[in-house]
Amino acid sequence: MNIKITYNWLLDYLDTEADPYEIQKYLSLCGPSVESVEKIHGDFVFDIEITSNRIDTASVYGITQEALAILPQFNKKTFIKFDPLKNFIFKKIRQEDEKKLDIEIKDPNLVSRISAVVLSDVKIGDSPKKLKQRLLDCGINPINNVVDVSNYIRIALGQPCHIFDYDSIGGSKMIIRKSTKGETLTTLDKEKVVLPGDDIVISDANGNLIDQPGIMGAFNSSVKSDTKNIILFVPIFNGQMVRRTSMLTGKRSDSASYFEKGLDEERTEATLVYGYTLLKENARAVVSSKIIDIYKNKYKPRKIIVTFSQISNLIGQNIDKRDTVEILKRLGFNVTRKKDTLEIIIPSYRKNDIFIKEDVVEEVARIFGYYKISSNLQSFAYVPEQKDFQKINNATLEIKKYLKHIGLTEIINNSMISKDQIINAKLNENDHIKLSNPISIELEYLRTSLIPSLLVNIKNNLGKQDTMALFEIAKTFHRQKDDLPKETTKLTIMTNTNYFDLKGIIEALFSELNITDVKFEEGTSELLASKKQSKIKINSKDVGNLGLINKDIRNNYGFYKNIYIAELDLFNIIQESKKLPEYKKPSSFSTVKLDLTVKNLNYEDFKLKAFANSQYLQDIKVLDKYQDNITFRLFFSSYVKNLTEKEALKELVKIKKEI
């Protein structure tokens, strides 16, 4: 999360030599990242990123504490000018007993501390100009002099509070309990919230829910223009429960993002007193009850023991021992040094972030300055690889490069597709794994094939290029019972040329990979035109399909050219690939070439028969195709003698007879 605070506000608490830009630079290097400084009407607004473990820094006071630790490291003298925790104490409030308030906590797990007081005779109006301006600078819209105070002290001290209209709370009683499923309330923004059950709720004596604790106040108990008496209410709710309710009801708020990260019980006192002080000044509020402070389990300071050598081992270089102690003290830790051991007492506001010695090392290292730590590569070590991974990885890249070099364009698409894409490609929706929280219907299902994506690619690029040849290599996802989906890597090629062009690409690729035993058999894929498709087999193993897309799919996409697809299982292909081809000795005797033209014949059959019937036949090439006629060139040679033309012709006759 990010917070905005101003430079002048920081100077309410801090005395420093550092200017706003130095503060930005030094804090970003050693602490919270100040993403921007914006100069406006004599003040500067810092936009600061707060990491989720350091909610204690999400306030003007929190940044003050960081600045006190960091700025002296850059030789910028920095002191605390006014410490609200030491000044805003209960003793500053003169308690009254005129109005009663009863707070009952049904389950101590719901709330670890509540500090509250009733204030009377408030005059609702506008806040003073300066306060309003600060809120605006920090990105918050002023509402009135009462509500503004709760926002102001949250930014100042990092502790959310809530202000109730005292008179709208039945029986002047607040009961803090767990909700039952289906209970409802209407929040400040007039939205009706149905509770999922087991949420923290506050009801009054009449059973009305008067707050969605930690998230947003209820409309019924909110401060209105005629409100006279108010309750200033500073709680520490169970962060996990606030978070759960906020997530389940979808209601997020600044307050929730504070509570859910775990707040410091010790800070409710200052928050209550500071809040009262401002309400007195701005809305003429007067105390009319006793201070209610329910705080059962006081924080017992955590102690961490760490040695100097443990610190230097993890950092990798020595940091001066006195500097180490200084840094920890400036951070507010209580440090006792016994020879080489440090006993460190963790203050309450760091109890959710410092648990182990590594956490202490981080504190020392960051304030010392990560930028000052030296840089050394670790020594080399041998680690065995994942089985076959190197081969797969290298071959995948080789395949991509080969396809690129013969003119194909590599595409990478999102792994998720829409229901329309599944239907348009004639695939079955039920085979596809669905996302339960998609961000768009365009990206709702995991792909089982890359074909739907490539069809869209072709469609989107129509008219941009006459011939298109695209490919993608990606994982597809296939449901398995009681296990993660099976992830199968596919290679899919799509062209708008013709069957033999695409087949040629595949044959060339296989040849590049030294795959020899390849067969193209009649295919049965429903995505492809029944007469123009084939099943591709390597060593009799199915590795994929190739063919013309079926006309339904063509019509679904409105293609005005035929589209050809091949989809192959990449790992099966790689398994059959070889780094080097099998070496064949060139014949030192002459080769006789003879041509043969035949009609109406299946090439695969012809090849099989030709080789079966001639011991001298070495190779067959297709010279020409014209209508039903195919002209082959046959290459005859022997490994032991020069073949005469007569002998070769005899072989040709044998072959002719068989076909």
């Binding site: 919270p32 690889e385 991509k400 698409n413």
Partner: protein, 353 residues
């Protein structure tokens, strides 16, 4: 056998010949396996011996003559080609196919080569992953607010009692625990490059993106080693003009944690662009005040080592996870300002690579 006629025919033909191709046909006609000279030699066998003695040398002379003439003509044609034929040397040459690799593929190859040199082995782990590996194994138990930093796509599939729901992995860090389980005993030197998914879609986010995750576990691994590795990578991958900085950050699975920034390549680290006809300054929409986050890093949290069966008292480690597109977008010269174009399948864009 009309040697006289053949000679005069040849003379006429060779005079007319103006190209290497025609000359080659002429050579085949006279000197080829089934050519005129060979047919004369066949005929010669049938001739009486005395005549043979007269005809033989004649045929031989003709053969020599033809060979000489063809060689002369061949030289003449080639020389003429060199001296006289005018060509427009600026016309384009013959077109050869030019395809393209996806820029992400190029980036991944470069990154993995950089890490291979220092002994990091590439691995691959599931994209559809158990929640456990993305969160619990990384010190983020159920309900932990830090999980919000990794917004996640969930799959509408059955939950596992131990491993939780099936998700699309929001980061390559899910591979950390899997790699510890695979290797069992350190050393570990992993570079895990893979697809990750998060529900964000704007100029700097695509719902699917790539990360690369480095993990190094051994005895005495410390912060200086992490810095050394990052510096090595940055020096290899980017130009010397680019600056980097390490900032404190928080991740549940590292302690200490860092964020690594690199100066923006679009606005050259200024945070704004000056351009257009007005010369007005506009905020750079890619970076924050001139810096772009490369990604997170840190020393592996003891709890993460324990979950992977490694004793944190004996071993320590570092890890980082960077976005592949991010580092590539930041590369000098590429000046890519919208990540979504990478996965939009526009061939006019892709064909440039």
């Amino acid at each position: 056998m009309n040697i006289q006629g053949a000679t005069s025919d040849f003379k006429i033909q060779i005079t007319k010949t103006e190209s290497i191709e025609v000359l080659e046909n002429l050579r085949i006609k006279y000197l080829g396996r089934k050519g005129l000279i060979n047919s004369f030699i066949e005929e010669l066998k049938k001739v009486e011996i005395p005549d043979r003695k007269i005809l033989g040398p004649k045929i031989n002379n003709l053969k020599k003559y033809i060979e000489e003439q063809i060689e002369l003509k061949s030289k003449y044609i080639l020389d003429k080609d060199e001296k006289e034929e005018l060509i427009d040397i600026t016309l384009p040459g013959k077109k050869y196919p030019k395809g393209s690799l996806h820029p992400t593929t190029i980036a991944i190859e470069e990154i993995s080569n950089i890490f291979k040199k220092i002994g990091f082995i590439p691995v691959s782990y599931p994209e559809a992953e158990w929640e456990y590996f993305a969160f619990e194994a990384l010190n983020m138990p159920k309900g932990h607010p830090a999980r919000d930093d990794f917004e996640t796509f969930f799959l509408d599939e059955a939950e596992d009692k131990k491993y939780g729901k099936i998700i699309l992995t929001p980061h390559t860090s899910s591979g950390q625990n899997r790699e510890m389980n695979r290797v069992k005993n350190p050393p570990i030197r992993m570079i895990n490059i893979g697809k990750c998914y998060r529900p964000n879609w704007d100029s700097v986010h695509n719902p699917m993106f790539y990360q690369f995750e480095g993990l190094c576990i051994d005895k005495n691994i410390n912060i200086t080693n992490l810095k050394g590795t990052i510096d090595y990578f940055v020096q290899q991958f980017f130009s010397e003009h680019r600056k980097t900085r390490l900032r404190p950050f928080h991740f549940q699975f590292t302690e200490p944690s860092f964020e690594i920034d690199i100066s923006c390549g679009i606005c050259k680290g200024l945070g704004y662009l000056t351009g257009g006809e007005t010369g007005k300054k506009t905020k750079c929409k890619v970076c924050k005040s001139g810096w772009l986050e490369l990604g997170g890093a840190g020393m592996v949290h003891p709890n993460v080592l324990k979950k992977g069966g490694i004793d944190p008292n004996h071993f320590s480690g570092w890890a980082f996870g960077f976005g592949v597109e991010r580092v590539y977008m930041m590369k000098e010269g590429l000046m890519l300002d919208d990540i979504r174009i990478l996965y939009s399948g526009q061939i006019e864009f892709l064909n440039q690579f």
